[in-house]
Symmetry: D2
Subunit: 254 residues, 4 copies
């Protein structure tokens, strides 16, 4: 039976590419995303076409029980979850306080913070029982500092970072590796950045960053580091690391 | 008309003492707390007995509209709010993940993070219009790092810290001074630490820390710094500072 | 006998103004600076003209024994040093690596890091014996993050910040209050920023920031916070705080 | 011609193991250390025995020109340096201020901070010309916070961390990848921890941490992450990451 890698937030960017990377190494990848059944099935088909194994589910993380039920079903029907990639974002673009609604603020927390808490409540007892497990959490610059216009995002991601630290503090010694992966640059991801910018602006940005587009962060390259961290020996675990393109200034430099 | 200092979370510790300090300097202090009408009226009476001016209201911050309505009423009936002291804590003691309920996690966020967001939504437009205002936010070690057993508290306070930074980034140049005051030690506060420990343990701790109890953080002394920060000239504002007793090790040292 | 406040790095900006502030409250202020005997004596005269007490000495901090001998002489001839304001900067302007000489790099360390270490070696035993003392250290953005062109400055100030933390860790419980004061903006200081920019550029900057110049950080206002921190009750000490003008973005926002 | 990996500080712990890892992947590894010619030649022999390529040199980093001349010689005689592993430590054990001499403080800076600066001055122009290069810097908990007894070490490592950030800020966009690798736990390294503790204490610690010793950080496992970081695609570079054993608490948790 293949080990399972569960990706929560599996679009065509980081989530999908990390899922592919794990599938290529012998994991059964379970891809979950909120919408776009077609895009989801395409990801599954892509993995299967290269000899990998995957399943895909639409999952609305905000819905009561959605994550919890999926975890239970996977463990019963597919196999033990060895790796969780928590990749739900909560970026809603820059909005001043007066344009940030209560609803937007709460939704940011539900996706970025509470969703991870619920995921941890569901998987940690199982991982602890098995004495091993990995939780990779995609994070963002806003986890490190709040900018004007990032009221919802920064509060949500800042809470998420502290939650990762508390989970790590409780569970590392029991064999669960929690890693907080700080994405500190623009990702070449059509489903998130692409949608936020619009097709034309997105292509323009890609072109500006050079012919290989590697002035943007390439998700298939980022996936290498996700995979590496998940397979670090337990005598040398990373809890937090940053990732950015060589053309990006670090958040503390601008 | 006196300027108003609104204290949200006004027990016998930091909140009450900061309220007294501002009242002593000519502010009308509005004290809000969730329960204990008698304790609240005692604080008001104490202030009035020394020639100060104060009002007290029970306020359940989690209740819809509670903070917003109070802000509106104060501005209409008492006067412009110049200073807000956001002093609601969300410490529930050390609890491992398995004993931290969804409800506890959400309540932490509502008190520590969402409540501040709602407060800012209510007061910032008014302060911005007047070109000045101060928001002092009491914070805790858990805003800086997550410990085992602090899943709810750390996520809530970490989100709060990032929110303070984003509020500051948007509003400082418009005259609103947001300060994040990190309380990094045990406070000699009967309503919070006292209740958490129980009367006997609390007295024992006080005794251990020496005859003047100043190995614990004394809220009347802390209030001096709250007052100072609120009155810094706008050419020299502090956004973040820590406070601890001389006997406390800083959070990064233990 | 008046308590002594020793200012190392007493130009017309932060150092001089902090010295004046302490003198106005009854301290004998000892002002030390590397050069400009006339400017130094003017500061002393200014203090004396308003009824304060001060002395001034030229002091080349890099010279062997210079700080140590001055401390000894003050303790013997004037009185116990209660407060040290370590205000030596090491900013040499933006220089890429290829233009940063070994000598410049070493000088940065000698002024910003080693000089503080030597000062602490000289005063801490005396303060410890008396069970009290204050060391206020002026710091800069570069203590928090390294920028291109700040190789020397960032290394020097980053080391200084860690030194402040280790001094605090050893000496707080023995009554010595070490505070790291992060200056995160441009100071209206003719002797430092003024000289770096040149007279014309400096005046232009002052004018841009508004008629009261308070878009620049005003040293006489900053001095209020230095004085406040030095007089916090030992149950509520600040180890680190930032200062910037209301028009400045925090370092993490740009 | 093989690419060169230069390890400055190549004992039997991190340095030696990282050197071996790179040699195993086709690099010519140049190992430098201050003393123990025999141990050095053993490392070289070990690498050659498994088909790898290596050279070893005694190098006293504090000596004028030592690093600079070695870099020049390597580039002329062996080949272009693609990777530098700067692995010199400056830990001298816990010493209170009164037992930390000027000399010890300065030596800490020379090894940990100035040595890296000199190395960067020597290699960056060459790497910049070639449009690529990697500088991996081994760091320690003391780069993040100063503890009592760590006056020299914390100042030196804190300065080093800021230097890494300034180097990264200047050189990342020109193809040089600078990574700051925070070692936040005890390493199973006979040449450093072993010598500091003494043979008996060291063995006791190893035994306590379990039969596989993996409660200590195993340098051969850490080397995997060094190698991974050095080979990240330039669209997804890590500047800072931490490493600790699963049994270690993170520095912010204790």
């Amino acid at each position: 039976m293949k080990p399972v890698c569960l990706v929560i937030g599996a679009g065509a960017g980081i989530g999908g590419n990390v899922g592919k990377r794990f599938a290529a190494e012998g994991y059964h990848t379970v891809l979950c995303r909120r919408s776009d059944e077609q895009g989801l099935q395409q990801l599954v088909a892509d993995i299967e076409a290269t000899g990998g194994s995957a399943s895909g589910y639409l999952l609305n993380a905000i819905e009561e029980g959605s994550i919890e039920d999926r975890v239970t079903a996977i463990e019963e029907e597919i196999g033990p979850i060895e790796v969780v990639v928590y990749n739900l974002g909560a970026q809603i673009g820059d909005r001043p306080l007066e344009e940030t609604s209560y609803k937007a603020f709460e939704m940011g927390w539900q996706l970025a913070t509470f969703g991870l808490f619920r995921t941890a409540k569901a998987v940690c007892p199982k991982m602890e029982e098995r004495g091993k497990g990995v939780i990779l959490v995609t994070s963002a610059t806003s986890a490190m500092r709040g900018n004007a216009g990032q009221h919802s995002h920064a509060a949500a991601m800042g809470g998420r970072r502290m939650l990762c630290q508390s989970l790590n503090a409780q569970f590392a010694s029991r064999g669960i590796h929690v890693a907080h992966i700080l994405i500190d640059g623009a990702v070449d991801a059509p489903d998130t950045l692409g949608k936020m910018l619009g097709a034309e602006q997105f292509q323009k940005l890609r072109d500006q960053r050079g012919g290989e587009h590697d002035g943007l962060m390439l998700p298939q390259q980022m996936a290498e580091t996700y995979f590496h961290v998940a397979h670090q020996h337990r005598s040398a675990w990373t809890h937090e690391l940053d990732l950015r393109a060589f053309t990006d200034l670090a958040w503390w430099n601008h």
